[in-house]
Symmetry: C2
Subunit: 230 residues, 2 copies
DNA sequence: CACTGTGAAGAAATTCACAGCT
DNA sequence: AGCTGTGAATTTCTTCACAGTG
């Protein structure tokens, strides 16, 4: 019996959720969504199987959000979906801009997964005059010089960089300057940003190289399920 | 035979390199490549700045590969490039197949980063008869039923899944059956594979959701540089 | 001296194991 | 009984700090 000074039950803003847990919440969300029309509750064991992790991890992760399960029963799918969505900020709408309308940018613009949950692509941006004015995936392409006005008027807080590596830093500078606070960077370059801007990097080639390592070594890979980004 | 059960000193790529280190080696590789035509040596401090990590981590990471630096001087760029490439298995050629020739599959097929280092896209595969026979990014699209023959003849060990989520598991089954040992999964689904197959998952929407979390919370993000996948 | 390489300390993440609720 | 929630143990990763070397 140790009346530890607990983190406090303040849903919405308070509790500190470990980074590793944050990175898994979207996985749980998807798994829950997939079974939401078939199952009313899930056990940590079941959710673990769906998400490709182990049950103890699921329970620990979810415990950071609060006590949303019922002992002897499990977690109510709909309720948990809502709680995780809320924790991830998906109950509100996030206007997103994609900078760089090349192959990748277009693929991203057409990717349903983005618009699916909370993220709404509101602008495509490019520096190429030939592309500006054309319509891709239902969105007119805007010139990058109009970024500040765009960010302001559409309330864009999150942007995706899908440009060549050479211009990624310049784009990041412009985005930060325009007021964008979070950047998802697909360009194969490390970019520097002010401390109040968050960057996440996804490098397609890096993922292959990591696979290559385990493949050449002996075919052994870390963990039982798949390694997701985090 | 070997007195030590696992983690022995295998010939070719010796000591046990931690997963976290493996995930960073491609970043160092890219950074080194970027400066290779301008600088002959780099210090751990310099490389750290280029890669967006701290110097102690660079030294520790590189120490797992061997003692490739020179005290008082730093690391010779070319030599380190070679050593990391070798560790990642990039000195050999990896034939890669992309399954799913939708927007994302096409973007990946056109992505230079893949072919840039060791990975050579040798086949595009789809189930849609309308796509089979067409040419995308210089590669004819093959029907998925021909996968076993293709894997066999081209010596494909690594494949990329860029299909809708619904068919990802079926594709994974076929890939494993055909003899593919490593899979990079872009489909938003957790897939099950035999234990001798490695899966890495990249989920574009998940990355945005993680950003969303930190954005809504208070704009604070983990670490100083960008969080890469790993 | 300048910088690497590395034990050791510290922090974070994972897993165990079981008390406690329904 | 069944399953969650969580302290505690364990493992992994990061950072420190400095001995050692070109």
């Amino acid at each position: 019996m140790s009346p530890r000074p607990s983190a406090g039950d303040r849903p919405g803003s308070g509790r500190r959720v470990p980074d590793a847990t944050v990175a898994r919440l979207p996985i749980y969300l998807r798994a829950l969504f997939d079974v939401s029309d078939r199952e009313r509750t899930v056990s940590s064991e079941r959710l673990a199987a769906l998400a490709g992790v182990n049950a103890a991890k699921v329970r620990k992760d979810l415990s950071y959000l609060g006590s949303y399960g019922t002992r002897g029963v499990g977690y109510e799918v709909e309720y948990l979906l809502f709680q995780i969505s809320r924790e991830l900020g998906l109950t509100r709408d996030w206007p997103v801009a994609i900078v760089g309308v090349g192959n990748l940018g277009q693929a991203l613009a057409n990717y349903d997964g983005f618009s699916a949950r909370g993220f709404r692509i509101v602008a495509l941006v490019d520096a190429d005059p030939a592309k500006v004015g054309t319509v891709v995936a239902g969105h007119p392409v805007t010139h990058i010089d109009d970024l500040p006005a765009l960010v302001e008027s559409a309330g864009i807080a999150i942007a995706v960089i899908a440009t060549p590596a050479e211009v990624a830093q310049d784009v990041a500078d412009r985005l930060a300057e325009a007021g964008v606070r979070s950047i998802l960077n697909f360009a194969p370059a490390v970019i520097a940003v002010p401390p109040d801007v968050t960057v996440r990097k996804v490098d397609l080639a890096v993922e292959l190289q990591i696979l290559g390592f385990y493949q050449q070594r002996d075919g052994t890979h870390p963990g039982v399920g798949q390694k997701a980004s985090g």
